[in-house]
Symmetry: C2
Subunit: 435 residues, 2 copies
């Protein structure tokens, strides 16, 4: 049993009482937190670390992304969505399994460096993303997405292949990897397809991860086709009542009845404000969702529409945009947004014990350097973490007691190799798309 | 004559053509850029630096801030403006000259670390801020602000003291420091006061820096008092026609006629989106301003309402918020916003040759590290700088050919001492305000 003793650090627990320890001890043994506050004098640790000037907090959870899209960072800029989407698709059609592996590896470097310990990913060639998760030491919920409008234009693996992949992934027995069924959205999958997915979810004990109600156009189309809004439509065919639960990304074009359904059925809703801003989607206030008890969480979305995978940027942006959209500076206080980015995301992904620092919880935590001019003085530690900290202030990342980063050095991934491979593959991609 | 030869770096010039050099040379001699692109073989440099993996761009200009307010970071969070303002004032009333010095020094550390080479500052005890500018090597426009509503409740120095300070500052002959006359705003200064300031501006050949049209309430009050909107009112008494020009921060509650006046009179308008978001001021789209030719530039505002002094955060936020507020993803393309944060700000502050990298310009430049996962691949260097770079990616900062930071080490300021003094003084301030 390996014991790590962190000394002299501040600890933002994010427990129910919002306890903050100052100049305290944090002890990790065999992957779990065993002491918090003061360690016993008799403690014999394998590793003793003086963490003065650091604050520990629960690791961040990126509740919706498309990690291999790092390869498309800067690919389609400052353009209207109807031009943006086909430009992105032209590139995605050319991506190979190895591209996916290296793109996801780049995302993992970026996420670890900015304090993310777990992510919820939807893309294709997810067997390759699983390799990255396995090697990096991160936790992840993985979804092999597919389009099947039922008109012969399906994209992605047949459902049967997805089932095989899910079974094979589970057979490998990595507790850090969870899987979801991935019909891309109700507007790219037919009702027949969605009904079949619900059946399989029940057979396999699986959850469903999809995109929902991202635009007025999608709402109008659903009303025309089914006489129901997208949320009502999915509800009518049982998508929200599958064993592993439903994660419905975005879900921003909703009305009061939709919100009631989402709350009642316990749907998790990852919110990705930077994408909504960059693509100019204006209606993403979620005050009513929170009041109704909808399980909100936060994500970066893919780097073709956000441009980075930094959850600290999403945290600050969530606080600022909710204040702005509600015209109310008291909206989204710092403590609330920090919980959305940690425990709410962890619960959504099924890592239910993560997201809080307490004895008995898995040691999924990050250290942030407070010895920096933009984090001083410390009148309000939580506000500083939300409104002044950057992802680059994270110095150390631990998952299940394993260091993924120490003093800003990645411990599980070969970053130089990854940067080289990504740059080379991105250049080759440009050439393939030109042809 | 000291000659510095930077090799193998990319260069974003922000010249009229938007020239980008790849793997190029940049030579600085005696504070000015002498070669850009390829250096002559015969060049004998005092310092040769391999800057592979770096991109040079013009240093950023923070066109409106209150630098000593770093001491109040996190002081008043998540609250309504009518509560926020008196809470901040209670603290400001207790600040001493040394507090101002150390608060501004902290801001200087933060600005240099995030790539800002010049700032436009309004506060009090500006003689102490001038010391920081002088020692740090930065450039600045300094304004000693005052309130004088003409009812005996004046705050700040008498105008005569301001004149003495301006004269004394000029007598010191530091070309890196400019001064402005600082009536806080038309709602805190009477017409008589403003008219006197205009007279003095003409006598001294000085510009005016103030706050303008920040809320509907201010507009209503001005209409009631003068029968004119704030912009019209200032225009009527010649504030926009003083020799050094007028910098009117914020100016967000404006109509078409106001915009026409601002454009015609060449008023510079620093825009501070993070403050507007944090304090929930929703109407700050400036598309019409740009179309009319208003001289827009960007600022952080004070750290009590923004929470940091990082212009990279302001750059990204400006792009994202303008897309959002206009519901148009083509608004504020990356190249445009980068120019607002560099040359537009430099011109506003009177450092007219800064903000572009070209032969003959002062060497006011920064280097950004591209060897980082969040800045790869490089499909679009400008978009990466705007939407993916963080202030912490800045590795080196040079002003007039002097290094203020090299490989993230500050060269002119004693950061450890500054962090210590600020924390000590912030704690003492808390005690004084309690009493």
């Amino acid at each position: 049993m390996t014991t790590i003793h962190l000394r002299n650090l501040d600890i933002v627990t994010l427990d129910e009482q919002g306890t903050i320890h100052r100049q305290a001890d944090l002890v990790v043994a065999d992957g779990f937190i065993t002491h918090l506050g003061q360690a016993p004098d008799t403690l014999q640790a394998d590793e003793i670390i003086d963490a003065s000037g650091r604050v520990a907090l629960p690791g961040l959870v990126n509740a919706h992304c498309h990690s291999p899209m790092t390869l498309l960072r800067g690919w389609a800029e400052d353009m209207y969505f109807p031009e943006w989407l086909p430009k992105v698709w032209r590139a995605e059609n050319q991506l190979t399994g190895p591209d996916i592996y290296w793109g996801a590896a780049l995302a993992a470097c970026e996420m670890i460096r900015t304090g993310t310990i777990a992510f919820n990913d939807m893309y294709f060639f997810m067997d390759r993303v699983a390799e990255v998760v396995s090697e990096s030491g991160m936790k992840a919920a993985l979804t092999w997405g597919f389009f099947d409008p039922g008109d012969g234009t399906a994209v992605g693996p047949a459902l049967e292949q997805t089932i095989e992949w899910i079974k094979a992934t589970h057979a490998r027995g990595n507790s850090r990897i969870k899987t979801y069924l991935g019909p891309h959205s109700p507007y790219t999958c037919s009702q027949t397809t969605l009904e079949r997915v619900v059946e399989i979810a029940h057979e396999l004990g699986q959850g469903i991860h999809l995109h929902l109600s991202e635009s007025q156009e999608q709402v109008d189309q659903s009303l025309k086709r089914y006489g129901l809004r997208p949320v009502q439509h999915l509800n009518s065919i049982g998508v929200f009542e599958v064993p592993g639960g439903c994660i419905a990304a975005h879900t921003i074009y909703i009305d009061g009845q939709d919100i009631e359904i989402l709350a009642k059925k316990g749907v998790c809703v990852p919110h990705c404000p930077i994408t909504y801003m960059k693509l100019a989607m204006p209606f993403f206030s979620f005050k009513a969702n929170l009041q109704a008890g909808v399980k909100m969480c936060l994500g970066t979305d893919g780097p073709a529409s956000n441009a980075d995978m930094d959850m600290f940027a999403v945290i600050r942006q969530t606080a600022l945009t909710q204040k702005l959209l509600q015209v109310d500076p008291t909206m989204m206080p710092a403590d609330t947004v920090l919980r959305l980015a940690t425990q709410a995301g962890a619960k959504a992904l099924g890592f239910t014990d993560s997201g809080v620092l307490k004895v008995g919880a898995p040691a999924d935590l990050i250290l942030v350097n407070l010895d920096a001019p933009h984090l001083r003085p410390v009148h309000n530690l939580i506000a500083n973490l939300v409104h002044s900290a950057k992802g680059s202030d994270v110095t150390d990342v631990m998952v299940d007691g394993q260091w993924l980063m120490r003093n800003r050095e990645l411990k599980t991934l070969d970053e130089d190799r990854i940067l080289y491979e990504v740059e080379t593959r991105a250049k080759a991609l440009v050439e393939r798309v030109k042809q």
